[in-house]
């Protein structure tokens, strides 16, 4: 379902993704693990048409995301790592907008929105503007929105960041259900090893833009001679702490906070 061969993505001199290759067959839950700045999000952005690869071959359901953007976009759903809601709209309006953009018919859209908002305990606040929501509520809304349509491939970029255990449980239950009932292929990244261990069929560990190991959780543990996935991960990637450099978007966010502090948002 996803095939990546010798993918390289450079930003100027910096190589974010350095010659990686992997394949994800249909119906698999595939986890991409790596420290901060390892190249996980960049890979997802290339797969989801948001970035163009510097070199290498990428196929999503047999299609090249760089040349067949619209066909590829029709096949996947995504929950982003960082916020992507419109804060000046209500929860309900954000769901509506998403449903319309993803061609979910009106009746199904409204029914599913109700079910999902109730599931993630946002129904009482459906008519409140998102900017009044707490961080956790926003995160839950992003995830509810991600499940509004059923794609062939679901990308989850650190979906559980900032979620409470209840919502986390709901999320993975829902992902499992979609995977089993509708054979949705799932491509996820996370920092929580227990999650990867629990849901993923196969795991790739990426560090400094390179894939250092790939296989089932058991295989990774055997390979490194460790007992838990966490230990295996540390054995593979070392124990130094990484910093991501601030992107222009992050810098923009800071400027905006200065300008808008106490104002609209």
């Amino acid at each position: 379902m996803i095939r990546v061969e010798n993918l390289v993505k450079k930003f100027g001199d910096f190589t974010a993704v350095d010659n990686i290759s992997f394949e994800v067959p249909k119906g698999e839950i595939f986890a991409f693990l790596g420290p901060n700045g390892a190249g996980k999000t960049t890979t997802i952005k290339v797969l989801t048409t948001l970035l163009k690869a510097t070199s290498g071959t990428v196929e999503v359901d047999g299609l090249n995301p760089m040349t067949h953007e619209n066909e590829v976009r029709r096949r996947f759903g995504i929950v982003f790592q960082d916020p992507s809601l419109d804060q000046d709209l209500t929860a309900w309006e954000n769901m509506e907008l998403h449903g319309v953009l993803y061609h979910v018919p009106g009746k199904i859209r409204r029914e599913k929105t109700e079910t999902l908002l109730k599931l993630f305990e946002l129904w009482d606040r459906k008519d409140a503007l998102v900017k009044t929501f707490s961080g956790g509520m926003r995160r839950r809304l992003e995830i509810a929105r991600g499940f509004l349509h059923t794609p062939k491939i679901l990308f989850l970029d650190e979906p559980t960041l900032g979620l409470d255990p209840q919502s986390r449980n709901q999320l993975w239950t829902h992902v499992k259900r979609q995977n089993e009932a509708d054979h949705v292929t799932v491509f996820l990244t996370t920092h929580y090893m227990d999650e990867a261990d629990r849901v993923a069929d196969r795991i790739a560990v990426i560090d400094h833009g390179k894939i250092v190991a790939i296989g089932t959780a058991e295989e990774l543990k055997q390979k490194t001679g460790t007992r838990s996935l966490e230990e295996a991960f540390l054995a593979l990637t070392g124990s130094t702490i990484r910093d991501e450099s601030a992107t222009s978007t992050d810098q923009l966010r800071q400027v905006a906070q200065m300008f808008r502090g106490g104002g609209r948002r």
């Binding site: 952005k45 989801t48 048409t49 948001l50 970035l51 163009k52 953007e69 619209n70 976009r73 029709r74 996947f76 995504i78 982003f80 960082d82 916020p83 992507s84 809601l85 419109d86 804060q87 000046d88 709209l89 309006e93 509506e96 907008l97 998403h98 319309v100 953009l101 993803y102 061609h103 503007l129 222009s248 978007t249 810098q251 923009l252 966010r253 400027v255 905006a256 609209r264």
Partner: protein, 248 residues
């Protein structure tokens, strides 16, 4: 179609919810209208130009439409920053439709703002030459709005962050306003200035508004409409192209 509609609706909803900003954005045009209108009025009259308020009101309406529409396009930067842009960029909808929905939404908001200013002008003492001119005035307002909303989208798609914003404001938006003849008549200008005003799309917009509202035009309403339509098509293509190239 539904994607264009929902993105258009989003712009209009956001505008109608920002009451404080609507009120605040009336300040600058009001200042021009009242201070310049009444301050320069006597001089203008002595020079044989008639009522300056009558002359300037269409220019101020044009200014309001210009600013609102360019900024609605540049608001793309806010969407980039707060992440919402990603949501629309990965949606299974051709980017052209997303761009059109946003641009039409921005143009609609600019027209609403222009209408508000027109009402303010009427309150301040502005009187259109004939009631029949008002619908034509709205047509020109719409053309100005589309031209500059498309320009705003092209700019917003090309900038990475807010650092370029001041540059755009001081070297593009303000010159477009000042060189448009919104504040002074276009006849008998020095050659160089006359040449530059002819390159400014807003000149034709303001001229069209004047032709419609006070019955006095320099280029003539037909020329204005043709030029504005051509520029609108050009800038929509530019905006669509820039928008299709966005990477996040």
């Amino acid at each position: 179609m539904s994607a264009i509609y929902i993105l258009w609706l989003r712009e209009v909803k956001k505008y109608s919810r920002s009451r404080v900003q609507i009120f605040a954005s009336l300040g600058q045009p009001l200042l021009y209208l009242l201070v310049l209108g009444f301050g320069l009025g006597p001089v203008f009259q002595k020079a044989g130009g008639g009522s300056y308020l009558q002359f300037m009101a269409p220019g101020i309406i044009g200014m309001a439409v210009l600013f609102t529409s360019v900024f609605s396009g540049i608001a793309l930067l806010w969407d980039r920053q707060f992440g919402f842009l990603k949501e629309t960029l990965v949606a299974p909808v051709p980017r052209l439709r997303i761009m059109i929905g946003r641009t039409l939404g921005g143009a609609t908001v600019a027209m609403l703002q222009g209408t508000l200013i027109m009402i303010v002008c009427l309150v301040a003492g502005f009187r259109p030459a004939s009631l029949l001119g008002i619908p034509l005035g709205f047509v020109f307002m719409a053309m100005i709005a589309v031209v500059f909303a498309a320009l705003g989208t092209a700019i917003g798609s090309s900038l990475q962050d807010m650092q370029g914003f001041q540059l755009i404001m001081n070297f593009l938006v303000l010159p477009i306003f000042f060189l448009s003849g919104a504040l002074f008549p276009l006849n008998n200008l020095p050659k160089a200035l006359s040449f530059v005003t002819r390159l400014d799309p807003l000149s034709y917009g303001v001229d069209g508004l004047r032709a419609a509202l006070i019955g006095v035009g320099y280029f003539g309403a037909v020329v204005d409409a043709v030029v504005l339509s051509a520029v609108a098509v050009g800038l929509l293509c530019l905006g669509a192209w820039r928008f299709s190239k966005i990477e996040i």
